[in-house]
Amino acid sequence: MAAAAPAIEVPAPRDTVAAKVLRGVAKAPLQIFLAALGLLWLVPTFGLFITSILPVQSVASEGWWQFFTHPSRVTWSNYDALFHNSGLTDALKTTAYIAVGNTLLIVVIGAMAGYAFAWLDFPGRDWLFIGVIGLLVVPIQMALIPMFKLYDIFGIFDTVIGIILFHAAFGLPFAIFLLRNFFIGLPKDILESARIDGANEFIIFLRLILPLGLPAIASLAIFQFLWTWNDLLVALVFGQNVQPITVWIAGQLREFGTSIDIIAPASFISLIVPLLVFLAFQRYFVQGLLAGSVK
């Protein structure tokens, strides 16, 4: 965009108020269309939220949008009951352990490997990196059966650590890919001069690469956090009593109609955390997304 600076400054035509209004009116259909689309996009999530704060009898007899005519039916008792439900609170804790543990692990291991691929010279580096790229698309299904057996043998089936390690492994190709590509773009002379000054690789990694790579590391961390918080498949296979919130809710789905006063608020709780994380760090999230898909 910076390249598009015009050679000759053309004075911008001065906008009269009338011209502004006119342009606004001309855009009105588009504005209305987009506003309607935006509202439409919000309806499902809003419906879930309203369903979660209505008593179960009311949900079973009329649509959630009737809440507009009977706002007095709103009750927090569903949430109240849920937070006294040890099934849900345990599941929330498990989810947090898995999401935070995996994020930390993958940031550390991914950054180290990313640094090695970007700045350390060793034979076969490019081939190894091609291997990592190859692993990017391996479906999780390819590992379920063998790891299910291995976990059994090593006694980490149905443990938080087992689930974290599985996530970490499947998140690593993306982590290495993302961080290597970011690190390789860091200014070479800074690193070279640090090496000449006698700093060893560990110091360079800790003092230079990690601080400079923070934007990419933040993207990766947010990605991994959301990915593991929202995961269903891995925990479904490798957990039994250890259940994150997605698996816990999935266990209630068979009685969808009668347990809606549990399912709807639990689903809303499960989505509010990633939503807040996303809203707080959306810039990094989008950066990671773009780095992962467009190069």
Binding site: I133, L144, E201, L226, Q282
Partner: protein, 441 residues
Amino acid sequence: MAAPPPPAEPGRFGRYAVTVVFLTPALLLLGAWMAYPVVYTVIRSFFGQTGYLGHWVGFDNYKTLFVPFTLSNPLLNAIKNNLIWVAVVPAFVTAIGLIFAVLTERVRWAVAFKLVVFLPMAISALATGVTWRIMYQQDPSLGAVNALVRSIRDAVTPPGVLQDASPSTPALQGSPQTGLTLKTLLHPGSVARLGLTAIPPDAVPSSAKQAAQPASKSGDIVGVVWRDFKPGGGKPGVVEKGEQGLPGVSVQLKSSDGKVVKTAKSGADGSFDFSNMPQGSYQAAIGASSFAKPFAGWGWLGPNLITWSLIIAYIWIWAGFAMVVIAAGLSAMPRDVLEAARTDGATELQVFRRVTVPLLAPVLSVVFITMIINVLKIFDLVFALAPQSSQTDANVIALAMWRVAFGGQNDFGTGSAIAVFLFLLVIPVLALNIRRFRRDV
């Protein structure tokens, strides 16, 4: 973290040692959790159902995917569904993302719009599944989607006033499904009495009043539609006190050749009036539309629509992704090219088709390919949104693998074969990724 070793000038061996330290954790994880399983699963797919390896069965596990070659084979059905997903979703998501990205460029609050459309990306597929199950409930008074369909349908073809009724006398013939016709021939000046029974009291429209006693009018054909019943019975075919008129019924007047020449709506007292009729003989009838059943809701979660319902929810999730990636491509586009096209007199549509889209082609193809992989691997939305009763019909390859291996059958042989099959489907994309990398290096 270990304390950094003293900053000695590392020799060749020292440098490799550093590399080993940095790479080992990652390679261990990748080796044990990805490389080994890939090899094992490929081998395992040629062995029987149970055991660490089981017994050699050759390609039998793969055959179950395609034999018998009918859609009653749940695995083949899963493949068919995945084909539908691949054929529909990437194209739709890319197109919608492109349209959204181009449109939002023109409004000031683009950031807010993008945020709203992108939000579903942050939500788990499970929560999305629950959300859309609420939206898709069949009863139009519970499910928002069917409520919307109902209000559109009611605006186009209003539902009948009555859902069911029978004639009170044999003079009225036919059935609610085909419409009821009064046998008696009518002439200007005649009176038509259309008596109906078998109407539950709560089905009578609330605006109904005491039925009118129609009086003959010269030149007009007048009549009454009424509920020919009162507590205690009453006399069939006679309008009595306590019997209600049926308002809003559309009465048709047919000429002798059966053509509808006029229609009239009955009033609150059930009366209707065809005024100034030319001479001739006519028949009065109540059209079937008066008995049209109200909209009962489409079975979005039923076996026939489930895949399409899933696809709608999936597009709701991923449109934001496509929009954001394409918008980033748009903002990186050379503005002067667009401006030049506009100065040369190209319309907005021409600029879009001839300049914007071709320049965006690389970004569009990235979105498209990403969506193909995502759709091939789709699992959790189907698992969460499709009710148990529809999961066989909604089945996709990744879900089929889970169901066969972990969902009760514990068939690790077939499960491995399905996983390998899925892997084979994404390998072209893998090759594409590697080629892109080697070109860049």
